[in-house]
Subunit: 237 residues, 2 copies
DNA sequence: CATTAACTTTAAGGTAAAATTAAAAGCATT
DNA sequence: AATGCTTTTAATTTTACCTTAAAGTTAATG
């Protein structure tokens, strides 16, 4: 039982159009002691959120009617809910750079399918961030973490969580990984990487990228970043 | 949206006891426009199949109660469902020599975990192979992939998916294939190929193209790239 | 059916690109 | 100014890809 920090259990609102997944998620979260509310559509979700003031809202991106992104906007527009933690729920392989570009104000992406254990740990991490005494609301606006299978990229803390272990990455390494991870599967050319991570003007030698890739592979394992010779690098997911 | 060939979206029945897998698969397939039905057990699956007549059934092999193999047998015993395409879903590393030996009547195996784009392409391949009238080859919105029968060319990832299997191609091979595939049926002369893939200035011998064609044929099969003697090469499917 | 031109096939270097390693150069922090 | 960490460079090795060359095959033509 982890839902109760000291006294009151954390309230979590789940929104997904599929009853099945809703049950799966709520079952696992309730087992941990969380107080779970559910809704199968965005409209109802906004209502519930207004009434119960959950600490965390998990929103499926793809929903008929009012989709996750719109729902998120509406929620963020409500004064009372300004600092609720909101996480999107997406299927793996999505283009996160695009979704992030929407800037709808989510704090996290959780990718499906997700194992109960991983779900719980992500939820815990998100709630830790909520921390009411921390009134300096840092997490405004865009998404701060992206979960790609075994790897979670936390843009706010510049760290990643790999197989449950936190790894603090230096700036450049982190930005390189975040770029590749923003569009899993896409090959980024060296030029694209240089422009995005180093900036238009900065000139560094070609081997610099290689060395950073090496560092990342050392820390994450060899399997995540793939080389496409003559083209560039990609995050394989 | 690719599920709709011309008008009616293809119906797919998914059967897996794990809720999150089910959700992952259905999310991705629905996004492509398929009409997806799900069941967490074999018995209910047979019922659904009887009622909705899906074009494709994807069955997890390992399920409690009525397992995939038995379910498949039952389905095949139903006269109405004789020519439904059935694919097993197995975990990677599972011993499926045994399963294959059972010969329960499946048309394909899909191994978990599977990447979204591979899943989609595999499903398309299956539907196309066994429903030949489904000849309409509408490209989906994703501007970076080209669907050519059993082959998907993904320009972003620099790879192709053939019969649902990813093949990472080297630069030159990929570019050659992408050129030929950009206009299926058209014969590209050697000059056109050289100019487009190698560039105006670069001078390479004529045999170089042949060798790359060979490599592609090795990886894809002989049937896709056709030689038109005295003229050039073309992609056919 | 011999000739020839065009394509196929195979295997062996050559080479450009990437990986690797170590060390130097930067930068904070104390 | 000394320490520890990050970033970049430089030098070397390794790898994968590309090209070529050489021999084999095919198909058209007289």
């Amino acid at each position: 039982m982890n839902g109760m920090s000291s006294n009151p259990p954390s309230k979590i609102l789940l929104v997904d159009d599929e009853q099945d997944i809703l049950e799966f998620l709520s079952y696992n979260l309730r087992k941990e002691g969380y107080e779970v509310y559910t809704s199968t559509n965005g409209k109802k979700a906004v209502e519930i959120a207004r009434n119960v003031h959950p600490q965390l809202i998990i929103l499926d991106v793809m929903m008929p009617d009012l989709d996750g992104i719109e729902t998120c906007r509406e929620l963020r527009a409500i004064d009372d809910l300004k600092d609720v933690v909101i996480s999107f729920l997406t299927a793996r392989g999505e283009d996160y750079s695009q979704i992030a570009g929407f800037d709808a104000g989510a704090d996290d992406y959780i990718t499906k399918p997700i194992k109960p254990r991983v779900l719980i740990s992500r939820v815990q991490a998100l709630l830790r961030r909520y921390n009411p005494e921390n009134k300096t609301n840092k997490n405004k606006g865009n998404a701060n973490t992206i979960q790609l299978g075994q790897i979670t990229i936390d843009r706010e803390a510049y760290l990643i969580i790999h197989d449950g272990t936190e790894i603090q990455l230096p700036k450049k390494e982190f930005e390189l990984l975040a770029l590749l991870g923003s569009k899993p599967g896409k090959v980024f050319t060296r030029d694209e990487i240089l422009k995005s991570v180093w900036g238009d003007d900065v000139v560094v030698g070609d081997r610099t990228i290689d060395v950073h890739v090496r560092k990342l592979r050392e820390k994450l394992g060899e399997e995540y970043i793939k080389t496409v010779k003559g083209v560039g690098y990609k995050f394989d997911f």
